[in-house]
Symmetry: C2
Subunit: 438 residues, 2 copies
Amino acid sequence: MDEIEHNVEEREDFTGIKLRPSIIYYPKNEEEVVKIVNYARERRIPVISWGAGTSLSGHLKCDGCILIDMKYMNKILEINDIDWYVRVQPGVNLEKVFKEVESKGFFLPPDPASFFLCTVGGATANSSGGMRGVKYGSFREWVLAVKVVLPNGHVVKVGEPLRKNRGGYDLVHLFVGSEGTLGVITEIWLRLIPKPREPTETILAYMRSFEDTAFVITEMRRRKILPDLAEYIDGDIIRLLNKHLNADLKESDGGALLIVVGKDAVKDMLDILQGRTLELKIAEGEEADELYSVRAKAVLALKAESPNIIVEDIVVPISRLTDAIIKLKEIERRENVRMPLIAHIGDGNLHPNIIADTVKEPEKLFEEVGRIAIDMGGSVSGEHGIGYQKANLLKEQVLKHNGRDVLEIMMQIKRVIDPYDIMNPDKYVELAYKLMNE
Amino acid sequence: MDEIEHNVEEREDFTGIKLRPSIIYYPKNEEEVVKIVNYARERRIPVISWGAGTSLSGHLKCDGCILIDMKYMNKILEINDIDWYVRVQPGVNLEKVFKEVESKGFFLPPDPASFFLCTVGGATANSSGGMRGVKYGSFREWVLAVKVVLPNGHVVKVGEPLRKNRGGYDLVHLFVGSEGTLGVITEIWLRLIPKPREPTETILAYMRSFEDTAFVITEMRRRKILPDLAEYIDGDIIRLLNKHLNADLKESDGGALLIVVGKDAVKDMLDILQGRTLELKIAEGEEADELYSVRAKAVLALKAESPNIIVEDIVVPISRLTDAIIKLKEIERRENVRMPLIAHIGDGNLHPNIIADTVKEPEKLFEEVGRIAIDMGGSVSGEHGIGYQKANLLKEQVLKHNGRDVLEIMMQIKRVIDPYDIMNPDKYVELAYKLMNE
């Protein structure tokens, strides 16, 4: 194993979790990944892949594991002009792929806020979402196929780079979002579409209140407006963006809505917003891009405020948005804490951010927020995944919404594919299952 | 079990396969389905669900099985105006759902050609595709959640009716397209979007030749035109539509392309078609709807010609379209047979139809056509599924593209969920696996 580049060091993920791997390997190709997996399996050492460390739910926690750093497996292997896919290695930076496919007239929609930092491997393993999710969905809707080194050391391709494929049970969607627990992804085919031709406009609306915001989104749905983007940041986030990133936004307690819609829907949107805003701005072109980019950086502003943030990631049905926001406000008042809110509000995906230093029992608060989603028929994660931090909430969600058998089936699938229990063990489904049987 | 409505009769699916169930039950609700599954499991009798019998790959073949006819479980349970989903029972007719959601301003895109006959349960179990697949994908992209009676008799919900959900491994996509082999679906949540606002135009082009057609589609891709629809019928199909359904189409050996694109792409399309058509027509409104509906009925014209049709359903990469069509023509010449071609050509999904009476060894021909797809990196099924007829081709595809382990994993998943082997046994994954180990 000495021939594969390696070293020993401690690392920290984006949220500050410390990783203490026994060794870090830097494979240059699939064959080296196979060697590492075989080595790990023979010794029953846990294996975890590292893309850029932007995990937000503790997926990477690792004491004594073998960490596979994908920094050399970072190539764009093919952009297929006729079959409309891009094939990449897992370590490639997502923004790089965006730029490359855009230069060829294509569009790859899913855009986790960390797109300028994260890797395609990480976004695939986590089925990451993003701002464009309201219209285009998460990574799982864009991954056509993956190559995987299975725990047994065999290399397989799952799925096909085709728009339509009914070749057996759909295992692609099992691997997308499996958080490194089923194998090591070494190649990814992503579906591309042409850059949209429809002209859009960007509306930045400083809102009078939270309640007005929920009303606007609900009314948008009632009138059947499907936006390209519908993002929300609250007053606290606005202040942090101004403070740490000189964002030059208007400070307003009601927060701001950023909505991108087709030109034909602008009139309708302005009608809905009427009387509910403090100030409103319509942007196009570069100015619109700038607003998108400010929103994308909100989490950096938070991190600048405190290194110790717990980012929540709940989804509530849009029809329950107002109720959810009232509940969040209640918690803030009761606990006298700040939970600055960033939201992909158009799809009900809310990120209340717990600044851990300001809270006595942040984990307790974290779970309470998760339960708001469960009680409303929502989900404890929309795009950040489960890791170890949300395993208990996952268990509660499955028991309440799906039935005990569903977690049973998930766990048995884990056992089928990883009988050695070496792939990112003791997290996610495995941990939720353990908690269910305690 | 006498309290559940039942009878004994023989049936025939759409392709003429005879079904000889030992009994047919007509459950009125989920509780009755649970009783039937428990009864079947205790006696180890195979269970198969019947929606409308429009299966095209032999999914329903059944000697001595218990057939569950879903004709009473045919309700639209909820159309949610804010959360944008429709919740239905499996036995509901798909066209009925289309009409109902359209009357409320919504759009449910996936449209198998049998939409006026088939049920949502069948289309979900099969992950059916259709003409709009080129833009909107197959059923698997529209099913948010399903309720399932598992083989152990427990009722679970898999997935959530949310746009984003990272609550555990993605099992929804495992059940969608599982062809009744993992459980009995009793409720389905489908995602809705607003009726598209962008105006489109419909182009009907009678083509000079097959080669011209392949050129046009490839060029469309190269120029990054994403159509709403790109359908092809060959000269034979045109003649059958005129003969049996008075379709009033121009008879031309080169066949006809039916393309729907946004108004802004019409000029580009006409430019591509230039010099490659015999006649060309641009339609809007009712006339366009009429063309769509003629195309949708092509398979009925075929059936009127001969009850004995084997409908192929291969997918080839668009970049290999010309090669694929040359290979199909070669087979026709060599065997001196007719294989009228219907194609969702925009996504590479081809349906050469083997008129079995005209061929000596139709099954051999069927497999040869399937291998064209496998050899070109395509798929042996785009939307009709595997049933028992394509199990051997599925095996070949997996061995060539994916690796033996992939079929192993699929089979183990079947065993995990259905250890009693009562759910539509001896077909699909199970049969492919058997063939692999022979």
